[in-house]
């Protein structure tokens, strides 16, 4: 049995245009105005145990909504999903003991208390046996290097340290499924790296099923082999990251550092010049012609350094979105402001 099975899951919101004040609230009850938002449009997905999947997509695409549906925080408008055999929005205690959700820049730990106290509360709520709790806690705090900080009030910790504590809290009960919603957002590079490494090690060891949403391609590239791209509430790609790159990677980027200054001749005949910083030049060339072009340039000029790379991941994904957007535009019907009287 797969860990996560989603079939035609949809979530639609009706957003009331509410104004402040009791008077307006009363009037709002009698004559509500609303707007319809399709957060998730009939998505289907299967995730096997032990997989590490990334959800990729622009803001408002429906990644977080999907995670919230799988966590049982919100109920869907249509469709089904099971995680570890449970229906998430039934909010069974048995299910809640088996998974965890971590949201970037959102705290569940008590703000004014040391993290250790929040951990203790966690232990009681999840009914973790004492020896197991101590062992897990120490293991996790060591892995993240925050052992010395657990007795400091959470508000005194830096953003990165807080995030680490949140992760630890989420993993204390050794969940079988872990949902991570932008866990490294807003963190400095070092903290991001530490957390990435931690997640990789943890997941490899414990074989937890993980779904991670992130804006940072570094996270995705470092951790996941499978990528699900979500756009406008729909899944537009579900497969391995490498084939996504291949699929989109029609181009390669050639970077050359010339030995004797930038050549006077016109380099545009070799490819699209995207960067000119003497003595460095970056060219964008079709993938299949890359090696030929390099050979041609080196035949003519002396170069100190040459590299051939894929375009940055962000660019690839962005292209994917824009092309998806173009095809979606025909089907996009703008949703007007409804009034309740019809």
């Amino acid at each position: 049995m797969s860990a996560i099975e989603i079939r035609n899951l949809s979530k639609t919101y009706r957003v009331n245009r509410k104004k402040e004040g009791l008077w307006a609230a009363v009037r709002g009850l009698l004559r509500p105005e609303y707007e319809v938002i399709h957060a998730v449009r009939s998505i289907s997905l299967t995730v096997e145990r032990g997989e590490f999947v990334a959800f990729l997509g622009p803001n408002g695409a429906g990644k977080t909504t999907t995670l919230k549906l799988l966590s049982g925080i919100i109920t869907p408008t249509a469709g089904t999903a099971t995680v570890l055999g449970h229906v998430p929005w039934k909010r069974e205690n048995a299910y809640r003991r088996r998974f965890a959700l971590v949201m970037g820049q959102k705290n569940q730990l008590w703000w004014d208390l040391p993290a250790a106290e929040s951990f203790r509360l966690h232990q009681q709520i999840y009914q973790i046996p004492p020896e197991q709790f101590t062992r897990t806690r120490d293991e996790l705090t060591d892995m993240l290097g925050v052992r010395h900080l657990i007795h400091r009030p959470v508000r005194e910790l830096s953003l990165g340290e807080r995030m680490k504590m949140e992760l630890i809290a989420a993993l204390l009960h050794s969940p079988e499924v872990l949902f991570l919603d932008e866990p490294t957002i807003g963190l400095d590079v070092v903290a991001q790296y530490t957390i990435q490494q931690f997640l990789r090690e943890y997941q490899t060891q414990k074989k937890t099923t993980v779904i991670l949403t992130s804006h940072y391609m570094k996270d995705v590239a470092a951790l996941c082999r499978r990528v699900v791209v979500i756009f406008d509430g729909r899944i537009i790609y579900d497969g391995s990251l490498s084939s996504l790159v291949d699929h989109l990677g029609a181009y390669k980027i050639i970077t050359i550092r010339f030995a004797n200054g930038t050549p006077a001749g016109d380099l545009a005949r070799f490819g699209q010049v995207i960067l000119r910083e003497p003595p460095r030049i970056k060219l964008r060339v079709p993938r299949t012609e890359a090696t030929e072009i390099v050979r041609a340039i080196l035949a003519q000029y002396a170069a100190e350094d040459v590299s051939v790379e894929d375009p940055p991941l962000e660019e690839l994904i962005a292209t994917l979105f824009t092309s998806a957007h173009c095809t979606a535009e025909e089907s996009l019907v703008p949703s007007p402001l409804h009034s309740a009287d019809h």
Partner: protein
């Protein structure tokens, strides 16, 4: 409370080198602007205001029933007209309603705390360089606030007073109306300068909020808001009569109900006015000393 930037064209009109009439005109224009902006700010919350004001009368309902029970069992002539410290039951209810009205004039929500906040956050610096005084600015802001408040609160107040008109067995005669209105206006002035002075203590004490809290507490108990001061036994009665808090709620209501008459009424008004002047002076001095102290610290 927000501070609005004063247009420079305005301030040039108030340069001290101008002749007096022009200065006054300029100042009036400035005050009018402040009034207008403040009124606009308040109008937005109209509906909420009305409902909120109406709800503030709810505790009086409880008081009405409570006092009915008290009067029912109180010793007195059989056949009604029991009096407690000179109040009949209806007078008592009328008293509470009138106190609500007095409080509408004398309560200054946010005044003291606003001042201390400006001091703490440095907003007070403006008043070292601008030609308008802090007290003047606050005063006119408060007047604007009250005017708007009255215009909206007038509706629920009128409704309640009309429904309860049966309780007003005594109304002022002739000049007593003028005296009553005078006492309300004086209550406003007293409330303003009293709370402003407390707020200005923020130049010396960082946390005036505890002081303010004590003031609120004492004010509620000893201003007559909770019960008519006449009920207090000696020596408390004499002591309370010596402090100015009674003029915030008790005195105007007593004037209306005819508890203070003739010569006593005139004296009362004069004493009330004297307290107003006292606190006005106190506030000004506190402000001057405070600003001196403040700028001494380099701001």
């Amino acid at each position: 409370m927000c501070w609005y930037p004063i247009r420079s064209s305005m301030s040039t009109a108030i340069l001290d080198t101008n002749p007096v009439p022009q200065r006054i005109l300029g100042r009036c224009r400035l005050w009018a602007t402040i009034l207008r902006i403040s009124i606009q700010e308040r109008i937005v919350y109209r509906g909420d205001f009305m409902l909120g004001t109406l709800m503030r009368f709810l505790p009086i309902v409880t008081q009405m029933f409570l006092w009915a029970a008290v009067f029912a069992a109180a010793p007195g002539p059989s056949g009604g007209d029991t009096r407690i410290v000179g109040y009949r039951y209806q007078d008592m209810v009328a008293y509470y309603l009138l106190t609500m009205l007095s409080r509408a004039f004398s309560s200054m929500p946010g005044l003291a705390s606003g001042i201390t906040r400006e001091i703490r956050e440095g907003g007070i610096k403006k008043f070292l360089i601008q030609p308008i005084g802090l007290l003047e600015f606050l005063f006119f802001y408060r007047v604007a606030h009250k005017l708007v408040y009255y215009s909206i609160a007038a509706v629920p107040f009128a409704v309640v007073f009309y429904l309860c008109r049966g309780f007003f067995l005594h109304t002022p005669h002739g000049w007593e109306w003028a005296a009553y209105i005078a006492s309300l206006i004086l209550a406003f002035l007293l409330g303003f300068f009293l709370e402003a002075t407390i707020g200005l203590l923020g130049f010396w004490f960082l946390e005036v909020s505890s002081l303010l809290f004590i003031y609120m507490l004492l004010s509620f108990f000893f201003s007559g808001h909770m019960f008519p001061i006449d009920m207090l036994p000696q020596p408390f009665y004499t002591i309370v009569r010596m402090i100015p808090l009674q003029y915030l709620a008790y005195f105007p209501s007593a004037v209306f109900l005819g508890k203070v008459q003739g010569e006593e009424l005139v004296t009362g008004l004069l004493v009330q006015a004297a307290w107003v002047v006292t606190f006005m002076v106190l506030a000004k001095i506190t402000l001057q000393r405070g600003l001196k102290r403040y700028s001494g610290f380099g701001g």
